[in-house]
Subunit: 235 residues, 2 copies
DNA sequence: GCTTGTGAAACGTTTCACAGCA
DNA sequence: TGCTGTGAAACGTTTCACAAGC
């Protein structure tokens, strides 16, 4: 950013700097969420400012990386001071899009689906589960989750409920064998993004982002690293 | 890897090619798990061979990337044919270290911990939950998980059980507020790696690998991408 | 003093393109 | 022909190092 007559103070409204995803490295976007999580913990602890060095330290990153990541989206820091915790939280939420509430549905009212419903903590992050679906006739109509619970709907009602409740994100908590078919149903129903807990890769239109969380994959990565360590230790 | 008088059939013992983690890109190791998952699905479907192009396609990768990733660990392919599915599965399991069983403990017998215990599917992947811990006195001694269930132990017994049952991996399913303290207890008990479901970064010795799965982080990434898409669409 | 923001250099990863082989 | 394995080129990300500001 050369001679661009940079304004001295932070402008009142958000995006004079590019808020565009364009040309921002994907790893940087992933770290934004980690910064936000850490900053929220700092805010709760009463911390008012933090430097890129300190923020990087708790996350195992360099100070330069923290600054670069944030600089992709604007100038949020104060030289000599660091970053104001509350200000940076607001900026990150705005960038990530979690300064508003996202309505979420869960498909699959099994063990994992129920656990997700019982997890408080999404709410604070801007995500609200508003409906639950399952294809098991024995479950339809019964209730799951914290009192008063959610009524379990059949998959057939998905499109209707998505439109009515303005649902943007679908959480897939179904067996791998039906994951693709269920993903198709989510897309057809108008869901804009999918968080997939089934151990399967999904084929969806490219404008529908998918995040797959496969517990076995994570365990395998740990196994690999422990095995490698043991080889290293024996040298 | 030039004139290395490559044997035609799989050698009886494992590592003529380097099994070392050294100099293998981390992203490549992550993809190994995805290849394995896909290959296991292919095997179940009766598929006998697959080319790097076909394997890449289902995962959204190029053929060259698939070949390069695998070539870091040896020459597993057959020119003109592709890769034999059963053979490559065996190789990947050996590389990842999941050709043996890993004993796993779960800390936190809440909603998520219980859901994990009820999840069949780890077993096939080489991971076996063998013990459950919680610090809630009301839960100690009761049983959770599929019949006959696991007796819930107090955290104090962790070191003893880890040694006795040869546990290598600990799964952290506790609230963020006690995640660090619980991680410390896991490390002190001799656990070699941690799968962390608490939304918090953990500070552990660097020889203890940690994989953190934070659902809110994944949802935020989806929110970001959906927001970016909407900006794109309006141009 | 300390800290940010940022070009440029260093490093790492992916893709290309082709020799070699079935 | 079809496919792997692999150097080399292209591309992307991180780190360095420093001018500018508090």
């Amino acid at each position: 950013m050369p001679a661009d007559e940079t304004p001295d103070q932070v402008p009142a409204s958000l995006p004079p700097p590019a808020n565009r995803a364009e040309s921002v490295p994907e790893p940087a976007v992933r770290r934004l969420s980690l910064y936000l999580r850490e900053l929220e913990a700092l805010l709760a602890a009463g911390r008012e400012t933090i430097s890129s060095k300190q923020l990087g330290e708790v996350l195992g990153l360099t100070d330069a990386q923290v600054r670069k990541d944030l600089a992709y989206f604007g100038q949020f820091g104060h030289p000599g001071i660091g970053y104001r915790v509350d200000e940076l939280i607001a900026r990150l939420r705005s960038i990530l899009g979690t300064d508003r509430t996202w309505n979420v549905l869960v498909v699959g009212a099994g063990h994992l689906g129920s656990a997700l419903l019982n997890y408080r903590g999404f709410g604070k992050k801007g995500f609200q589960v508003v409906a639950v679906f399952d294809n098991d006739p024995a479950k339809i109509g019964s209730r799951v989750g914290p009192e008063p619970g959610f009524e379990i709907y059949p998959l057939e009602r998905m499109a209707e409920v998505v439109a009515q409740s303005d649902i943007q994100i679908g959480v897939l908590a179904v067996p791998a064998a039906v994951a693709q078919a269920t993903a198709n149903a989510l897309v057809a129903a108008g869901v804009k993004a999918i968080l997939n807990f089934a151990p399967a890769s999904l084929n969806v239109p490219e404008n529908v982002p998918v995040a797959t969380v496969d517990l076995a994959v994570h365990l395998e990565q740990l196994a690999f690293r422990v095995s490698a360590d043991q080889v290293d230790a024996s040298k």
